[in-house]
Amino acid sequence: MRLRLLLTAAVCVLAPRAVGAVELPSASAPVEKVIDQLIDAAIADAGVTPAAQADDATIIRRLTLDLVGRIPTTGEVDAYVKSTDADKRAKLVDRLIAAPGFVRHQAALFEVMLNPEGDRRGSGALRDYLTSALKDGKSWDQMFREMMLPNESDPKLKGAGDFLRGRLNDADKLTSDVSVAFFGVNVSCAQCHNHPHVKDWTQDHFYGMKAFLARTFDNGGFLGERGYGVIKYKPTKGPERTAQMMFLSGTKVEDANAKEPTAAEQKKEKEALDKAKAAKTPPPAPKFSARAKLVEVALQGENAEFFARSIANRMWHRFFGTGLVSPLDQMHAENQPSHPELLAWLARDTAGHKYDLRRLIRGIVMSRAYSRSSQYESENRPGNRTFAVARLKPMTPMQLSTSLRIAATDPASFDNLKPEEFEKRIEQAEGAARGIAALVAQPTDNFQIGVGEALLFSNGDRVMRELLTDNPGTTLGRLKAMKEPKEAVEFLVKTVYGRSATADETRALVAYVEKRKGREAEAYKQVLWALVTGPEFRFSY
């Protein structure tokens, strides 16, 4: 066990300390304005030239993928590009944020954020909870409360408890995962000894957090918590110590009344637990709940900075593909943000607006920093952490699979629908996309696409059957009415990429089709395949 602990120890590398405190922009400034002010200032300081703003077709593709998890339909692209409304971007963002797809897509991303290990995402109960919480416009602090202190007698909220329930057999992992998911801090470095390079993290921090959580246990599928129980640990030097409940900020919580129960009390406690188990109800809560205390302390005063900075950083990462602090779980004094003032401002703004996720997201995607082109033709391409050029983001399995469905569907079938009908059609496409999505890997930072995916798309019968079909109502089906290969390939490029074909593309694609004279239908299938397997489809760019 001892050795195991030693081997768990993490080595972390220092980052340079940033400059001292500076005055932040006004609290009443719009989020997007502050983002651009601070990002642009840093770009100017670094003496780099940022990429130009992306064109409209790219912006609507990026926004639609990022907000609702799919590519836009041809109709959506055309309407946006043609519109001369000066306010069109804000209107699009508001429409997408209000769409049901927003809730589904963001819930899926939150689920991955909370359960990065795929095998924890099995039951779907947590995602169902996240979906309904986002739908109801719940704030992030409320969701945090509901996940950490789930009201299990409310069936609608039971899924919220899944985050804890899946981790109850390993208090160390629970401690580490709670700290990572909600506070952006990986204290597991400090499990075996004070962190070697990060002064912030000592063993007291790890065991202090663990003391809040280790009293929680599983009682017949419900969360139980004891009102007593201490965590002891052996520090690297000196005798064994008893951990005091301590939040990451150093705030300590006294539990003066905690004493080991007598045999009679234990017996009584066990009876109560067995009774709850048999009745399939949540067990009685302790008088003093350490877990409730953690939630309280974490959201209190300056302590809440951890919580606020972490969610601001995570939302930034979600839309820019790089965090202001990177990696996301290494938010500490020795790993400074690329833009310290911006993170401080965003965290303050988010906390000051009741952790309203929609406000934060809207501000991020309305910024000019968000809508830069991902193309940088000249040399000396600025680094990702300047946010001077947009970063390519690989699609999630659901983004990719739903987008494939949309690309393979005759774009005319999305035209002239009432908004509810349109949304219904999109939801159907998502439902049908789950099969292929399950075969694709969930991207992480520094993601690499393996040969398995290339083999799946090259030789998978499911891809052939579901996407490369020319049944009525499909993109390929539409081609049957087209006489000229030129018309057909231009239609394909437009449908799949949401933009007009370049002259070179048209030439190459027409030549490809003409080489297969007499079997054009097959040729078009292959053209569609080449388009959807290309990087222009695979990434949000």
Partner: protein, 434 residues
């Protein structure tokens, strides 16, 4: 205890300073961007390393085979069970009577009897025994297969680098192959439903020429998009598609019927035998790492019946594989290992089973640069503890890497952080590397 050498080592401090000096204001702590790593993976750099291509076949005894019924019998002890031991062709070395074929071939093999790996949980122990260490919170280590694939796979290889047969086993979810920070390029091709890889065969609906040219069309369209754009993930996607045709061409390697009937008869008709024969075909064609999972060793009940049934199969297949490799002149380059997540308790439980046990168990290494005909480590008369030459997961891996001609201290770079093949301070067992 080598506590001080890991997190706070002087070597790390040095590297850290170098990093701080070089990285300047960009300084992303632990930002595992793969740039440095991929630069090293460039074919030109790796050419010299790959002159003698070593390969590995790992026979993974999922669930945990009993050392007492295989490599470290204790006949007559209260913990010994009903089986006797027999003399092998190596003087002084006796193994279980359930392994008469291997008993005649121990001159090819090194037995390590002093494994003390401290972890008796299937899932995490399997991860440790596949990686030689435990993952860090912020760093996922590559497993043995991924490291061997990385070191001995050819950049333009027409075959997969890492294949794992893990069909019909109880432990598949517990020990999936994992490339860790090396990334999906070195992820295993996993065969989980049959002996034939998924999606390796072209569908009937497209001609071979169209399949080829459609791939070229894809790459042509991509080139326009890639102009002025830069992404390691995008590069990995292109590389993945470039490898498709080569891997498809290796399809026949997985077809056991391509092998003469005589050879198939020699290995035998079981799934484990067939997969091991395919593993031999794969390494012969240049696949650096193949794992064949053989499961159902987790004998909490009826341990002796289980082993009476399963050990002879292992004995036969392993002996046949070693003979076959020897006859083909491949044993100097191909290492064969038997390993599991742990062994089994010497004490026999009420169901006549043996439970999980990681304190004194055994594994074997044959071929390549291992000292053949050797035994390392000694357990006490009842098999409860290691009394001499104890080996943990780290030193086992350092030894394996050394026997493959790799320097265990060789560094990979995750961002700017150097990460050696084994943790700092861990050393190979010199006596076992020939």
């Amino acid at each position: 205890m080598r506590r001080s050498t890991f997190c706070g080592s002087a070597a790390h401090a040095l590297d850290r300073r170098a990093f701080l000096g070089g990285a300047g204001a960009a300084g992303a702590a632990l930002a595992a961007d793969m740039t440095a790593l991929n630069a090293l993976a460039a074919p030109a750099v790796n050419k010299d390393l790959k002159k003698t291509q070593k390969r590995v076949i790992l026979l993974w005894l999922a669930g945990g085979a009993s050392q007492l019924e295989t490599w470290d019998p204790k006949p007559g002890a209260s913990t010994g069970g009903p089986f006797r031991s027999i003399q092998t062709d190596v003087p002084g070395l006796r193994i279980s009577e359930l392994m008469p074929k291997m008993a005649a071939r121990m001159k090819t093999t090194c037995v390590i009897r002093g494994l003390n790996t401290k972890n008796g949980d299937h899932g995490s122990a399997a991860m440790t025994m596949m990686r030689g260490r435990r993952d860090e919170a912020a760093l996922r280590y590559p497993d043995l297969g991924a490291v061997v694939a990385r070191e001995f796979g050819l950049a333009d290889s027409k075959v997969p680098d890492y294949v794992t047969f893990y069909t019909q086993t109880e432990g598949r979810g517990m020990a999936p192959g994992a490339p860790g920070f090396l990334g999906a390029r070195y992820a295993p091709m996993e065969l989980t439903t049959n002996n034939y890889p998924e999606f390796i065969k072209k569908l009937d609906g497209i001609t071979d020429l169209d399949h080829l040219e459609r791939g070229e069309l894809r790459s042509l369209l991509g080139k326009q998009f890639e102009k002025g754009r830069n992404s390691e993930t995008m590069n990995s996607q292109n590389e993945a598609y470039q490898r498709v045709r080569g891997i498809m061409a290796s399809e026949k390697l997985f077809d056991v019927t391509q092998e003469p009937q005589k050879v198939r008869d020699r290995y035998g008709p079981t799934q484990f035998a067939e997969q091991t024969l395919i593993a031999r075909r794969l390494v012969e064609a240049g696949v650096p790492f193949v794992r064949v999972g053989r499961a159902w060793w987790d004998s909490h009940g009826q341990n002796f019946e289980t082993h009476q049934e399963m050990v002879p199969e292992l004995d036969h297949v392993m002996a046949t594989l070693l003979d076959d490799l020897g006859e083909r002149g491949m044993l100097d380059d191909v290492m064969v290992m038997t390993l599991a997540e742990f062994g089994r308790t010497p004490s026999i439980n009420a169901s006549l089973g043996r439970d999980h046990f990681a304190s004194a168990w055994s594994c074997t290494i044959s071929g390549a640069g291992i000292k053949r005909g050797s035994v390392y480590g000694k357990s006490d008369p009842k098999g409860q503890t290691v009394v001499a030459e104890e080996v943990d997961a780290g030193s086992l891996f350092a030894t394996v890497y050394s026997a493959l001609g790799l320097d265990p201290n060789k560094n990979y770079y995750v961002g700017s952080r150097p990460v050696p093949l084994v943790n700092p301070g861990v050393e190979a067992i010199k006596a076992l590397v020939s």
